[in-house]
């Protein structure tokens, strides 16, 4: 099994040390570097891109979201994850829109954090009920008579089933059993949904930029 490189960006020293320890202790993962700020992270990125970027959002010299965008723009195969204290909607959704495909809680156990990163490399993504609920709202606009025609749902029926079950608290294993699919399929459905969110928000950004006159599609 080949090892995947991980870049860790976290400003709190204790947490950084703990997370770095978890990564090094997890088979199949190796630490590319551990940075405490945006600047030092970019310095490391100049020498090469990691397979996985694990970053905090609130950094002393900027937002980890910038870093996620940078890595995703340079190498689509690179994955990104955010480190969050609460896993709350606002921070996580912003990161997902920038291209992250999951998050880990700072106080998560060694096993949980290691598994989440491995799952990501394996083509799947972790998710939580509040995030699922938010994605359902964001990607599947309510079917009102006015918007039904011009705002089609971005989610497939199966994806909606998965998100609905997650929102109710069911685990991937339970969902796999309920829908008669494999754990891996459920996990990759979630990752696929994250990608849709990223693409959708990128096209929204283009649309906004065009309408604001920042970029021109003719040129």
């Amino acid at each position: 099994m080949s090892t995947s490189t991980v870049l860790l960006v976290e400003d709190d020293g204790h947490t950084r040390e703990r997370l770095a320890g978890i990564i090094e202790a997890t088979p199949g993962l190796s630490l590319l570097g551990a940075a405490e700020s945006l600047t030092s992270a970019r310095k490391i990125l100049k020498d090469g891109l990691p397979d996985v970027l694990l970053t905090d959002i609130g950094l002393p010299d900027g937002s980890g979201i910038e870093l996620i965008k940078q890595v995703r723009a340079n190498r689509v195969k690179s994955e990104a994850m955010v480190i969050s204290i609460f896993g709350d909607e606002y921070h996580v959704i912003a990161a997902l829109k920038a291209g992250a495909a999951g998050y880990i809680l700072k106080d998560g156990t060694t096993e949980l954090i290691g598994n989440a990163i491995l799952q990501l490399i394996d083509g799947g993504s972790p998710i939580s009920p509040p995030i699922a609920r938010h994605l359902l709202k964001q990607l599947q606009p309510e079917q009102s008579p006015d918007s039904a025609s011009n705002e089609p749902s971005l989610l497939s029926a199966r994806e909606v089933d998965v998100l609905t079950a997650v929102a109710k608290g069911y685990t991937y294993n339970e969902i796999a059993e309920m829908l008669n699919i494999s754990f891996h399929t459920v996990s990759s459905h979630v990752k696929h949904i994250y990608r849709k969110l990223e693409v959708n928000s990128r096209s929204e950004a283009v649309f906004e930029a065009v309408s604001l006159g920042i970029i021109s599609l003719d040129g």
């Binding site: 909607e89 106080d107 509040p130 109710k168 608290g169 685990t171």
Partner: protein, 627 residues
Amino acid sequence: MNYRQQNRPFPLVKTLLILFFAVAASISVVSYYKYAIAPPTDALVIDQLHFNPADTLEPPQDADSSWGELFLPHDWRDAGLSGMHGWYATDLELNVPPNRLWGFYIPRITSNVLVYINDEVIGQGGRFRDPVARNWGRPLYFSIPNGVIHSGNNRIHLQVKTATGSPGYLGPVYIGPEEDLRPVYQRAYRLRVTIVESATTSLLLVAVLMAGLWLTRRKDALPFWFALMCAVWALHNVYLLVTEIPVSERAWECLRYMTLGWFSVLLVISMHRFLDLKHRAIEYSIFAIALIGSVLLCLIPGDEDFFHFVNWAWISGSLALGAYPALRVTIAWWRSWNPEYLIAMCTGLPILLAGTHDWLRIHGYIAREQGYLIQYSAPVFMLGFTIVLLIRYARSLNESEALTHTLEARVESKRLQLESNYQKMQALERERVLSGERERIMRDMHDGVGGHLVSALAMSDSHTLEPKKFKEILSNALMDLRLMIDSMDQTEGDLASVLGTLRSRLQPALEKSGIEVNWMVGDIPAIATLGPGRILQIMRILQEAITNVLKHSGARTLTVTTDKTDEIVVIDISDNGIGIMETDSKGHGLQNMRHRAKKAGIDLKIQDAKPGTRVRITIFLNGMDPQ
């Protein structure tokens, strides 16, 4: 409106203007009147004749001893003639016969005349039978056929018949070329007939308009009385205009004097309304007297008594009554200087003057060659009064418009005031909600995170610091903080999502315990009445219940199920452990759960399920637990 009290300068200007127009109009009218009745100048005037009061169909013989010589005008009353017939005769000497068409012009005759020249009838003023045609309201003119007048002596006879009660009268008559006489006749005809006809038509029109105005606005009685007055006056004019009357002479005379008298009565009432005077006693008295007079008019048997009563009592009474409103309006004007009153005064004065003139004429103080004038005074008064009413109408329209503007402005200012009050209230309400929410968050933090941190601090101070226990307290603090954040996120009252979130938070502990979880959360409708505060209490209760299972029950399975009806949502947390009675945690933990359930307004039941325990919470869709 009292201009004098308001001491404004402009009514003086208005007053002078009105007086100027009144004088100018009076001069114009008098000049026109004099011009219209001026006798012809280029014609032969016949004013010296012989008279015979015989009642014959043919002219009496020249030898008849009753012939006597006299000069025109010839007033039968002055001459003491009481008969109703008479003949006039005269001779006209011409050296050469007329070489063009000639005419015969009779400016004033009472009541009818038949003209013979050389024993040929050249014209008559209508019916000679009773009731005889009445021509005293208009001049007469007859063309003389060619060949009737010749050189030498021409014999002219005039047969005259009078109506009952009207002594005969013949003014100077004229004979001459038609081209000289006819225009003079037409001038007089216009003045005495055409103008009166037009005035009558106008009076009727104004009467209809005023009646219409009154019908649309009943509370103002003035137009009603004014309309009635105009109609009565129009009827009076009809008496002057009709020559061949359709009823008996007595009935016709009754109509004349009734309309005259009742016009005065209506004038008084109208003026009272116009001046806003409330003298009901005077009005009722006048009505009563006029009614009695009218009955007498109709009932007096003899013609002599009738005309005596009419000429002395009725006409004099009407004239005196007409003087009363003139006096009233003069006093009103003198007190207020209101230009409206001056207009009414100036235009009403001619009625009084003409009435006086006609009274003097009837009683012989003025020559009968002057006709009656009363019919000319009505249009003037009617015009003035209509102008005044229009001014009033325009003014009240302006006032109501101004009032509407004021009202609109006041409504608008009230609306703005209400709006600002509403905004203030909204701001207060927002403030109240915010401060309520702040208080709740502080209380929840005090109960949860705060308590945990204080106890962690206390432990770190003590000598018996147990790292495991210390870590647990801090984990609990973090867990409670996460529950608070999660509860804030749950703005839609989606309980299924609340349960899902809770499970994800407890997942590490559940996995660690190795307990088997039967998660059976179905579709639950969103409950809008669940705010973050109640959701947090529910989450804490469920967390406590699940933690109890993990820590104390010794169970191998944990089952979470949901159910719903139209009114309630039920969440059950059950285990297959040792049961509630056997656990030692029934004290503080359960009490806490009950306390939270009460605060959140939900029903909580903790039952011994044998085996294990079942915690059931019931949430009411339409608000709080009714108990």
